[in-house]
């Protein structure tokens, strides 16, 4: 076989890979080919997970029970969907209910922060000798094209360690693990080293590529190609580092998102999604309100509500919402019983999640809790059902397996199934 490795552009390895994959660039020719067009449709799907860390109260958000002993002081207000009421702490979000769906019958049977978060991110209960990949890693694997320089799973953490967690991908492989965007700052090593100007930067990469060309004239293997590609990807990512800079957004829009951490991080999320990111997780902390649940929810949701509604609107205006699956989740909800510190405690027994966008019915509600919110009375689901639902919403058959070293590994918990009632 006559391999042409003479081309020395940055795109070299990538365009070749894309060509081999059957999707050649973004030209008209590609769109005219139905297979390629389908590939593009898949490529355009994105996911945004808003994680309300600590456990948001379902009673102060998606499933209010005003006037009962467990209900707390807040009213329920009508939304843009007739018949659906949510807490008065979410007035802005209420006007976007026609783009959202609610799952009100969640019972994850888990009241531990770590284990609850695990269930919600992997769709499985933690097991001693098995690790399951995060939703973000699964999306990174299924949705991210090889030529996308952005890591497939971006995790914007309020003030995290900034380390990447390739462990999140479990058996899918570290490549699909999360990359932390600590406090919205770009990942490490995106700037070229001090003392190397653009000319030297060009030259050293050219020298590296020359060395590789000479190597390829003698030998080659797929593994070596993947290695050289990471340098091309690194250089493209360096060029994209402006994506992480929200100061180029209009001040007016930034004001609407909010100047607080969550506002800045949501604005960054939208920039990243628009700029080609596959999966962004953004967190808002902290909802662990064992004391003064109601005061804290006024404060926290005051930030969340306006920012989240702005984010939905911004995505919608830019034509991204229908192809972006948006999920608002926590590790669990909060107890209906109000404790003596006016707090609510951990509660995985009967709580809610909101979602919308890609593949999700607009304005749907599924599942029901009883009058005081102490139990699910209709369409009970757990983390497994939610995981199936996300995958199906993104167009995948969630009953299928991943295969790793001959081992069939179900993409989602085989004991659960998608919540068809809210799927398009």
């Amino acid at each position: 076989m006559n391999c042409n490795y003479a081309c020395k552009t940055v795109d070299h390895g990538l365009s070749r890979r894309a060509f081999l994959g059957g999707v050649g660039g973004l030209g008209l020719g590609a769109l005219a080919n139905p297979l390629a067009a389908k590939g593009l449709a898949i490529q355009q799907k994105r996911v945004l997970v808003v994680f309300l860390a600590g456990g948001v109260s379902q009673l102060e958000t998606w499933d209010p029970k005003p006037g009962v002993v467990t209900g707390g002081p807040f009213r329920a207000i009508p939304t843009s969907v007739p018949g659906i009421h949510i807490s008065e702490l979410l007035p802005y979000t209420a006007s976007w209910m026609h783009k959202l769906a609610l799952v009100r019958g969640i019972n994850t049977k888990e009241n531990d922060h770590g284990k609850g978060a695990y269930i919600m991110q992997t769709g499985r209960r933690q097991e001693p000798a098995n690790e399951y990949p995060h939703f973000g890693s699964v999306c990174s694997k299924l949705l991210t094209e090889d030529k996308n320089p952005l890591p497939g799973y971006l995790n914007i953490t309020p003030n995290g360690s900034g380390a990447q967690s390739s462990k999140d991908a479990a058996y899918l492989g570290p490549k699909f693990g999360s990359v932390s965007i600590s406090d919205g700052k770009a990942p490490a090593n995106l700037e070229k080293p001090a003392g190397i100007n653009s000319e030297a930067e060009m030259q050293r990469h050219l020298l590296r590529q020359n060395a590789n060309e000479r190597f390829y004239s003698r030998r080659k293997s797929a593994m070596t190609e993947a290695y050289t590609q990471t340098y091309d990807q690194a250089r493209m990512l360096m060029e994209k580092r402006g994506l992480f800079d929200i100061t180029s957004e209009s001040g007016k829009l930034a004001d609407r998102y909010g100047k607080h951490d969550f506002g800045r991080h949501c604005l960054l999320s939208r920039r990243l999604l628009e700029g080609g990111a596959t999966f962004v997780k953004v967190s808002h902390t902290n909802y662990d309100t064992h004391h003064e649940n109601f005061d804290f929810h006024i404060e926290q949701l005051g930030e969340f509500d306006r920012t989240f509604a702005t984010l939905l609107e911004d995505l919608d205006i830019r034509g991204l919402l229908d192809s972006t699956l948006v999920v608002v989740m926590s590790e669990f909800g909060r107890t209906p019983t109000i404790n003596r510190n006016f707090g609510r405690d951990h509660w995985g027994t009967a709580w809610s999640v909101a979602m919308g966008g890609c593949g999700i019915q607009k304005g749907a509600v599924v599942g029901k809790t009883n009058a005081t919110g102490t139990a699910v009375v209709d369409r009970e689901v757990n983390g497994g059902h939610l995981f199936h639902t996300y995958l199906k919403a993104l167009g995948f058959d969630s009953k299928k397996n991943f295969y790793v070293d001959q081992r069939p590994l179900p993409m989602a918990d085989p004991k659960a199934s998608p919540i068809e009632e809210i799927l398009l």
Partner: protein
């Protein structure tokens, strides 16, 4: 590390003969037998196979595999110059006999057995010291495994070996999974919940037979000292159901290794199971310990899976893939590429009293190991398991990091400061702080089997991080310092290519260097930095070729 290896020929000679004698049977060395087995499945193997690699390719390859770094420029030059017909074999023996081998192989065993888990109960430094001292003392593999499987962390002397259990939090399922993967070459992960749906050999009862050695064990933390040890109860069954079984029949297993007889357990009267009964404050000591039966039952020459897994992993270390591959998928549906070769190596490993150096040395001396990786004309798509050509295989994270330190001349510079008679430990103390960040930047996640995967974050680190750039700065003895002193472009190119890639530059490569050096107003220091970096990040440096 090792100084002037080829000059030590006379010293290692007698040692080499001893090794050879040990492996001679019917006049054939093990390496010759290896080559005969590798050739078996393919007609005219020798005609089709690639020729042996060059001396420079060999010294780089074997130095990386046996002491985890690349040779110095001086060592490479001397090796090429030497006319000793046995120089390859003598180099292998010298490397294996050097303390650098023990330092390196301790890292290999650490990564294999602990899989980069973060420290929990036993500090990594103590554990690595245990591994290193064991290797320096030529402790056999089966003895090490026995020590690891017997340690409970109570006795300070053997506590480092208890890291395997304690840093897995004494979790019986995790320990069962990892013992079967790492010491027996089988992955029974699926069998925790049901018989493997596709692999005939992976049965749930095999899993629970091994699990039963551990189901009574638990982590006990002393309230006063806060120290955790691995304790055990005197009662409790390893019972299980299959998630596939609609009838939900509960079965139970006593301690039993597959292919071995069940352990006979003494009947204990209810209430009299303990020497010391466990309470919240007191570590229980049962009269009969299930766990203590395992080490002797498993780490023994006549337990085939144990010897085969050990031999298979040594082969994979040298050759880039196992005879059974992946290494933990030993079962009937995934046959060995060369079953008789695996039998041979396992048998010889037992015969050598589990001295891993004999097996590594004999593999290194085989033609199979020494093949060029350049595909000969006329050979179409050779498969890796055919061993017709040398494998192009990635360096481990440790090999890569220490190769960077050697190539940049950081190691040379430190050795200059420390003096000619430097102790390995003193040198290693200088190298480790520079190697660790590189290893971390490339490493696989904690708790997952080590393996190579290219990720963009690694390229970003190697391209832009200040630590690596710092290694490229000139200091006395370093490569960029030496290059800055060389005026002649051809000599410059030789030093550069020998230093980084352990080979002489081609005419094209000399020309490239000459043109760049000859440019008007050349920033020589900057050019040197970029030339060294470019070769270090090239394929030829990242992979064994």
């Amino acid at each position: 590390m090792f100084a002037n290896i080829v000059n030590k020929n006379r010293f290692v000679c007698s040692f080499a003969i001893m090794l050879l004698v040990a492996n001679w049977s019917l006049g054939q060395t093990l390496s010759q037998k290896i080559d005969a087995e590798v050739a078996k499945p393919i007609a005219d193997f020798e005609k089709k196979a690639a020729p042996l690699c060059s001396d420079l390719e060999f010294i780089r390859r074997v130095t990386l595999d046996l002491i985890g770094t690349i040779p110095t420029v001086e060592q490479s030059r001397e090796f090429v110059k030497s006319t000793n017909p046995n120089k390859r074999s003598e180099l292998v023996d010298a490397l294996l006999a050097s303390p650098a081998h023990a330092w390196y192989f301790a890292m290999v065993l650490d990564v294999t057995w602990m899989e980069r888990r973060a420290d929990k109960h036993v500090p990594s430094a103590n554990w690595k010291q245990y591994l290193r001292e064991s290797l320096l003392a030529n402790k056999p593999y089966d003895v090490m495994v026995k020590e690891i499987l017997s340690a409970d962390g109570v006795d300070a002397k053997t506590r480092p070996a208890a890291k395997f259990y304690l840093d897995r939090e004494g979790e019986p399922h995790l320990i069962t999974r990892d013992i079967s993967r790492l010491f027996l070459g089988v992955n029974w992960q699926c069998a925790q919940c049901h018989d493997h749906p596709r692999v005939e050999d992976y049965k749930q009862d095999l899993y629970y037979g091994l699990f039963a050695f551990f189901n009574r064990s638990y982590l006990f933390t002393d309230a006063k000292t806060k120290q955790s040890v691995f304790a055990e109860k005197g009662e409790g069954d390893a019972s299980f159901q299959s998630v596939f079984d609609p009838a939900k029949v509960t079965k139970s297993s006593g301690p039993k290794l597959f292919m071995r007889a069940a352990i006979t357990e003494p009947k204990m009267e209810k209430g009299k199971e303990y020497e010391v009964a466990p309470t919240k404050e007191v570590r229980g000591i049962p009269k009969f310990s299930r766990r203590s039966q395992l080490a002797n039952e498993l780490a023994r020459g006549d337990f085939e899976p144990f010897a085969r897994n050990g031999a298979n992993r040594l082969w994979a270390h040298m050759m880039g893939r196992g005879i059974v591959h992946p290494l933990d998928l030993g079962h009937g549906d995934n046959p060995a590429s060369h079953p008789e070769l695996l039998d041979l190596l396992a048998k010889e490993f037992v015969k050598a009293k589990f001295n891993h150096k004999e097996i590594l040395g004999q593999i290194a001396k085989s033609k199979a190991y020494q093949r060029s990786s350049q595909v000969p004309k006329g050979l179409q798509d050779p498969k890796p398991e055919e061993y017709l050509v040398g494998a192009i295989r990635p360096l481990s994270e440790e090999q890569f990091a220490y190769a960077i330190l050697q190539a940049s001349g950081f190691t040379d510079a430190e050795r200059m400061i420390l003096g000619a008679k430097v102790e390995e430990a003193a040198l290693q103390a200088k190298l480790a702080p520079q190697a660790t960040p590189i290893i971390n930047a490339l490493a696989t996640p904690a708790g997952q089997a080590p393996g190579y995967e290219a990720r963009v974050e690694q390229a970003l680190y190697l391209a832009n991080n200040g630590q690596l750039q710092g290694l490229l700065a000139p200091r006395k003895g370093s490569l960029s310092f030496r290059l800055s002193e060389i005026k002649d472009a051809k000599l410059f190119a030789e030093e550069l290519y020998l230093g980084v890639l352990t080979r002489m530059p081609t005419e094209d490569e000399k020309k490239e260097v000459e043109v760049l050096l000859g440019k008007k107003d050349v920033d020589k220091a900057g050019l040197i930095r970029d030339l060294v970096w470019a070769l270090m990040t090239s394929i030829e440096f990242r992979f064994q070729v």
